[in-house]
């Protein structure tokens, strides 16, 4: 089991730098997600790893072995395409057995293996059907089975659930997690859907519009402690507050015009942090409490007026105007059928949160 290491990987297409430079280490045997907006270059990166594209510069290593110049069919890496790319002229059996047939494995053994895997994927009843006769979800599983049949060291998945509807997607996500647990193959999952990424990943990386990796970490690290406003905004929703930093060493506060001093938090002191410098704070909406009554025991508390309310089923979103016409979003879980306090439009409310939840973003 080898780690995948991308060193100084660069790729331009038609003069445009899709991937300016990527350095990344993907730990072996883990479910790794690469998250980024559409068109940022994440698919290109995946294709580079698969060997479908050649990098302009840099290396792709598996452990100590440089695979940058190895052709596609010799890499121990397999990819599941977004549109599945199932062979329309072959049936399910033949599609899944494709790689085995190439290795000239005896027919009996192929049959054994295929039936076993198709059973695991709940496809036993469709063995000899043509792929066009299958539903989207079934096709997706065939594509997966086909790629796994080869027993690759790394499995690449290019937005595999994009074509499925919501309920099916949720189900498949869980199945994918189980599959990875069982196989212990390194999975690299590329998507623009942050919900998918957060659900499946052991480790994830966020790529911005320019093909640069902004942050790497566990889902929790990325969500709770985003490094930049891009990450904070892209993964989940957040409130961004701009101000100046004060009292770094004793009691870090950010002075937001119109709101006053808000106590904030940072995990590690960085070089750019000096007294009075500009700073950005990210405050997640679910971390803010809203009430018409004042609260005690909370580090930060401000007043505002409810501007709009959006009902989301599980939660309710309140958009509140505070200070100098700053709009804050608050998510409140709808815990009760009949809540004790009903907040309405134009109500005057108090917003409060603990200081750890206001995270300072790195420049």
């Amino acid at each position: 089991m080898r780690d995948i290491i991308l060193k100084k990987l660069k790729k331009s297409i038609n003069g445009q730098a899709i991937i300016p430079e990527v350095n990344l280490r993907i730990p072996a045997g883990k479910f790794f997600a690469l998250l980024g907006p559409s068109g940022c270059g994440k698919t290109t990166l995946l294709r580079l790893i698969a060997g479908l594209e050649t990098a302009d510069a840099g290396q792709i290593l598996l452990g100590d072995n440089d695979f940058s110049k190895t052709p596609i069919h010799e890499r121990p890496i397999n990819i599941v395409f977004q549109n599945y790319a199932l062979f329309p002229h072959l049936n399910v059996f033949e599609n899944v057995a494709y790689s085995l047939k190439l290795k000239k494995i005896p027919k009996k053994i192929i049959e054994q293996k295929i039936f076993k895997i198709l059973e695991a994927f709940h496809l036993e009843t469709h063995v000899y059907k043509m792929v066009s006769q299958l539903s989207g979800g079934q096709q997706q599983r065939v594509a997966l089975a086909r790629a796994i049949m080869n027993a690759p060291e790394v499995l690449l998945l290019d937005e595999p659930l994009a074509a499925l509807d919501f309920k099916l997607r949720e189900k498949m996500l869980l199945e994918l997690i189980e599959l990875q647990d069982e196989l212990k193959t390194t999975f690299i999952y590329v998507t623009h859907d942050q919900f998918e990424a957060l659900t499946v990943a052991d480790q994830m990386a966020i790529m911005n519009h320019n093909g640069e990796i902004e942050q790497i970490g566990t889902p929790k690290q990325i969500y709770e402690f985003p490094h930049s406003s891009f990450v904070a905004r892209f993964v989940g929703t957040t409130n961004i507050l701009n101000g100046t930093l004060h009292d770094l060493d004793s009691d870090p506060k950010i002075d937001v015009p119109g709101l006053g001093m808000l106590k904030c938090y940072f995990s590690k002191k960085a070089d750019w942090m000096v007294e009075g410098c500009t700073a950005i704070m990210s405050l997640r909406p679910e971390k803010i409490f809203i009430s018409k009554k004042e609260a005690k025991n909370f580090t930060n508390q401000i007043k505002g007026v409810v501007h709009s309310i959006v009902y989301h089923g599980r939660s309710t979103q309140y958009n509140v105007i505070v200070g100098d016409n700053i709009k804050l979003q608050i998510f409140e879980q709808n815990e009760e059928h009949f809540p004790q306090e009903v907040i309405d439009y134009d109500d005057e409310v108090f917003l409060y949160w603990q200081r750890e939840n206001g995270v300072l973003l790195e420049k």
């Binding site: 297409i13 294709r47 060997g51 479908l52 594209e53 050649t54 052709p71 596609i72």
Partner: protein, 287 residues
């Protein structure tokens, strides 16, 4: 994005088609071109370049021949278009259900030997043929009409043979035509006539041009149909060319005339292309 396969490019294997094409298409054409300007002795020895072959044909008679072929080609294309467009329209928009059967019926004659169709029309139009016998029985005519050996017969046969060439490209263009554009135009208050002129025709222009060219160009070289159906009345380019080419020692003359006619054809084709574009592209866009 195609995978970049850096494997050794087996150029040799791609060659056969290219070599064949070069050898049996371009080389012959080049030879025709060259031999138009070459003078050969009786034994076939090279004697020098000359323009005399070409000069032989710079003569009113021969230009009349070329003109006759152009006229034939043009009138054929026009007639075919007048029949093909409504037909294609019908197939594409009106007869949706029966479409496959109708197309099948259209292509079957197309795939049957063309000489048999000449024969069929012979049979029908002959002095003692069906049409005449019928007309006589009804009492419309007294003596049989000489349908054959006439321009009428020639034109019927030409349209008969070339019709599918005009129908299929237009049908193809209409099939992939977004009909909601017509509906939008009607909805905005345009009359059907106006919609036809300003929306349908311009947007199917490519198919119409393809059809025209597939009919116009081959018709130019047509000589079998005029000969069989039209009698020996007119000489066309094909007739003259075959006389010279198949004759003894007049090969170069044949080449020269071919070259000359081909140039006239190209010029005419370009004009035709411009004309069609002029007629079909809505006025507002030009100038």
């Amino acid at each position: 994005m195609r995978a970049s396969l850096k494997s050794e490019k087996p150029f040799a294997i791609g060659l056969p088609a290219l070599v064949w094409q070069a050898l049996f298409f371009y080389l012959p054409l080049a030879l025709v071109f060259v031999s138009s300007f070459i003078r050969l002795s009786n034994e076939g020895k090279f004697q020098g370049f000359t323009l005399s072959h070409i000069a032989t044909f710079l003569n009113l008679i021969y230009f009349k021949v070329i003109g006759a072929s152009l006229l034939l080609a043009l009138s054929n294309a026009l007639l075919c278009f007048l029949v093909a467009f409504p037909l294609a329209y019908f197939l594409a928009f009106i007869a949706k259900g029966a479409r496959n059967i109708l197309l099948f019926l259209l292509i079957v004659p197309f795939w049957t030997n063309f000489l048999l169709h000449v024969y069929a029309w012979f049979y029908v139009l002959e002095r003692h043929g069906i049409v005449n016998t019928l007309l006589q029985k009804i009492g419309l005519i007294e003596t049989p009409i000489h349908f054959l050996n006439s321009t009428f017969a020639t034109m019927i046969m030409m349209v008969y043979y070339y019709l599918p060439f005009m129908v299929l490209p237009i049908f193809s263009a209409l099939e992939s035509f977004n009909f909601s554009l017509i509906e939008a135009s009607l909805d905005l208050g345009a009359s059907w006539n106006s919609t036809f002129r300003r929306i349908l025709l311009p947007l199917t222009r490519k198919g119409i041009i393809a059809g025209f060219f597939l009919v116009f160009i081959p018709s130019f070289g047509e000589f079998a149909i005029p000969e069989l159906m039209g009698g020996e009345r007119h000489a066309f380019v094909g007739t003259v060319v075959s006389q010279y080419i198949l004759g003894e020692g007049t090969g170069s003359l044949g080449s020269a005339f071919t070259l000359l006619s081909a140039l006239c054809l190209i010029a005419a084709a370009m004009l035709l292309y411009r004309l069609i574009n002029f007629l079909l592209i809505p006025r507002m866009r030009r100038g």
